[in-house]
Symmetry: D2
């Protein structure tokens, strides 16, 4: 089997295997071909980039600072570099993307800050574990804790509720000397919002005490674009230099910003996320109905974590399904995206049912 080309049976491996969604493609097309777009001022001073930033400000109903960058790892690392100096510590879930999946990018972009991993159920920070760290008081011999990062939706496919976020951000007041800042890794923020129909973007973020959000478009249908959104605008001081120095200032910025116009204009971002979440739920429901298949976390966003008999996993793999085993959760991860097809979900469920001897 040729593994270099992804067939439709690979679509559950990651939300990064998906193409550019139609709304984004259309916006990029316009940015490229519309008569008034053939030339655009470089480095983000163009109309499209300004409009995209304005739309994000409108979405969050506040006058935040918005910067577009290329990728998810860089957006997190850049945001954290505004919070942490080299001698600082950042509290993160032990299985957070910044802890496990960024090849020391946060350490590098901050010049050496330490990511202090703590445990927590369902991919969420355990508040007591965080308090334990904050209580240590080891002074200059240890990293000085300066930040806390949470992922929304989490790497476990769950979503923090506003109350849970508030409990974490309330630590800022409890430890005023530390001048704590809270970062939200929103690589799948759209999926979290789609899963929380009664919560507004502002309620989920700055009103809940989040200081800086990295809002992902890549997994939501863009080719590569993330927005770093500073609600605490002081963190954005000199950020333009930082973005430039760290290799994330696009010269032809309109191709990072136009995708946002496509996603935000008609709420395509929410439609895409709702679709992905719904397919993950269908898949989760269908598989957990089978003998020996067990759900590991509630399927709240666009991925399902499952334990299943080895024979089932192997069988699916033999039938061509790309099955991803996530070692830190000791479970199989099935990821859906805006482009996950009914056909694929149905076919996988049929194969699984067949193999499970249903």
């Amino acid at each position: 089997m040729d593994t270099t080309h992804a067939s439709w049976k690979h679509q559950f491996a990651s939300d990064n295997v998906a193409a550019i969604c139609p709304a984004v493609w259309k916006a990029m097309d316009e940015a490229n071909h519309a008569p008034n777009s053939h030339y655009a001022i470089a480095y983000g001073q163009d109309d499209i980039s300004r409009r995209a930033a304005d739309q994000i400000r409108a979405l969050f109903e506040t006058d935040c600072d918005v910067y577009f960058v290329y990728g998810g790892t860089a957006s997190n690392a850049l945001a954290l570099s505004t919070i942490c100096d080299s001698y600082h510590g950042l509290i993160a879930h032990r299985c957070a993307h910044v802890s496990l999946d960024e090849a020391n990018a946060p350490e590098f972009f901050t010049g050496g800050a330490k990511i202090i991993g703590v445990d927590g159920r369902e991919g969420k920070l355990d508040i007591d574990a965080v308090l334990n760290i904050l209580a240590l008081g080891h002074r200059i011999h240890a990293a000085k804790v300066r930040g806390i990062t949470i992922t929304q939706a989490t790497e476990a496919g769950t979503c923090y509720g506003v109350e849970e976020i508030l409990r974490i951000t309330s630590l800022k007041k409890r430890y005023p000397d530390l001048d704590l800042k809270v970062h939200m890794d929103g690589a799948r923020f759209a999926n979290a919002m789609a899963a929380s129909p009664d919560v507004t973007p502002k309620a989920m973020t700055w009103q809940a005490g989040v200081d800086v959000l990295t809002f992902g478009a890549t997994k939501n249908g863009a080719p590569a674009s993330e927005a770093i959104i500073f609600f605490d605008r002081e963190l954005a001081t000199d950020f333009e230099w930082r973005r430039k120095q760290m290799g994330q200032l696009a010269s032809k910025m309109r191709y990072l910003s136009s995708p946002w116009l496509g996603l935000l204009d008609q709420d395509a971002w929410l439609d895409n996320a709702r679709h992905a979440n719904r397919q993950a739920a269908r898949l989760s429901n269908g598989l957990t109905a089978l003998r020996g298949v067990e759900l590991v976390f509630p399927t709240e966003a666009n991925m399902a974590f499952l334990r299943m008999p080895p024979s089932l996993a192997e069988g699916l793999s033999q039938r061509g399904w790309q099955i991803f085993f996530y070692q830190w959760f000791n479970a199989y991860r099935f990821m859906c995206s805006w482009s996950t097809t009914d056909k694929a979900v149905d076919a996988l469920l049929a194969d699984a049912g067949d193999l499970a001897g249903a």
Copy 2:
């Protein structure tokens, strides 16, 4: 005048104001919409990315290591990070992009390497100035020189001949203890190749002693894509980690690699560069025919550096032409791209002739 929207009169400000060229757009379209492309393995393991790398290897007729990254500053800084450790020195032209235009990105990506700026006519390194640096011998009190970087085409719009490159790379043998490596900043490598019709890509690079080339597509018609090409493959050791850590590993890599298929397939890269060079030459010829206008450097690639009477510069500006004054060369820079129109060149020349009282 609205300065946030670039009219067609802005097209000489930079080659970054241009849109995506048709060949690249078509290749991206295929990467996104062709039936067998709807899903693609992430992080560069996909067919398109492999084919693009293979085509680059074919172009250079050698088994080099090829990595795609987002932008020009990052591609230089990443390439240099494979040459220079934190205590190393890198010899560069005082007006090189890495010296003046990257907001300390090379220093950051290398952890502190020092860029040692030397002078040289027409934007090219002066070999004697380089030798002076190498002869200093200040040992552990100073940066240990490890690399030399040259820009091709240069920031002055000139091109190194193969002989000139060889003179620089011959220093590697002359100072064997330093284990010198030579980097070529090829943000406008296409323009240099278009200006050197009798030279092959391999003759211009690895056969001339270049160890690593950063080959730009962005200024040549792509949205954002640069290829880092290691001819000295040992420099590429662990480079995948480096690229990831430094925030330049694209998850949906096909959108960084498909532009290369579009550019290389039918030699669009050379056509684009030839067009840009030709327009720069027309502009240079036309303007230098006017009273008081003086050419600063030979117009060999896609930009012309000119001195002109203040009244002329102001007049052009008043008529809406975006005129960029390049302070380090004390001259006006006119830049052309694949999309520079005959109409724009003619109109600017007409306005200039009018103003110069021709």
Copy 3:
């Protein structure tokens, strides 16, 4: 009570409260006042520094590279910077000095390497925990493991046996692709050697697979001096630049090297360490004889970790004894040094006996 001046009742707080020992003082005096020492070539090219390095080579019976630096944190961080690049991972005990007590110095000196903390009994790395990390195989998304560090004597006051060290260093052969290197933090190497009378320095280090040792003199009786000893001499490539860049090259090097002459000449280093270990054992034995006092780790080197009734701890503190509670081991730490007096040990034991109602 004046807490800024350390009375003799503070001597169990740390081995850093001790003065310069007589043998070191004498050697420094000679370095300063002997007729042929009044002027000394700077930066380590002097006689004294060469002799000190030679004596260290003689002690380890091998042709290793020896560099003197000021302090312990810097010596570890510098040594690790020769093993780990920014994208690497270093396996360390969760309670190692490099993990907890260096305020991100290793991360800073390496440009971002990640310290991967693992558990282990008695302050020693658990080999299975190490194997678990090595087996993960998360490729470019995670730190690439490059190094393992062990502390000898450990932060728990225990000592690795040669067999235990060999078990760890054997992983180098088991994972040849990783090109693993092993560092030994020997801030209290003297205490470990004093505790292992049948083991030679070479058997404890390079013959057991250790690649680089940071050998501490500060806690052993010097004002401030550590030796970084490269058994794997390739790691020392360009190390002179690194030491200079990282602020650890002494201009008047003789004051870092003469203490080593003092310590090594008549085995003062071992005498000092034996004395400290013996006092710790006396203290440990005396205290554990009391009701409610419990030993946490075997007292093998110069410190004892004990749990005791709060009333006892408070009582000692009220009588002026500086009692240090080590939160990570949830125990009280009593540290002895070359200068710990019989009188102090006896007096503390008497007070404790009194308080424990013995």
Copy 4:
């Protein structure tokens, strides 16, 4: 000839070849042996370190923050790390120690800040050259200038007058947006003060607009100790962590601080410096009286820069005098210290007179 041992004929090579001066030795002896000093709290909380910091505050007649560190390169780099973030620029004389002699330590400690070298007569910054840099305005593409550093006494052996310093520090007000900070490298601050009998330490520093001073004791008679003195105390925020992380926190701090007690108590620091300056003047006067010997800079501090006939330089070298050719000034440098003997100066002058055929 044995070059590893410095004879008394080496004493003009550097002020680093000198031993510890008597006043410092006495203070260290007391710190080590006085009854109330046998134990001292670690990490700078001890009496001696507090008294030394207090005496420095008294000397400068202001409530500044004082931190002791080991060496000169580190003290500069650490001080600059409080001024410059990674994307900042620092203006320095092209021949400053931070530019030429620190093997990229400032770049490393700041995470990548760029040292922007400017010219200037007699080792002093040329104010117009500085203004040219500040006027560039290249925004995010270049380093953002944040600091200016001056060396007092300069690397050319000259001294800034208060007026000259004020001219530089006045730029802080002229460019308020840059929030400029001024650092003074005072590795030979004592020599500058000795050369300026009518100026007080405060008039030379904070009253003249200096924000942070690195005040050297090493070249003035200590084994290794420098004080970083923050007049702008906001720069010292979290500095304790920085010092620790960067490997400059001494555990047995009293051996870094007691030398300051020795130097300051009876004005030994000034006596030492006056002696060194006087010997340099004698040497300068004596040599320039010879045919063909030319003074390059006024001999204001403890070193003389001279051009002389090759035959004379060779002759001196053959007679065993260590002659240091300083390539950047194209001149021979003769350096004196607190321990330079009359005998040595007389003997060198006699040999020179002999060789010059006087």
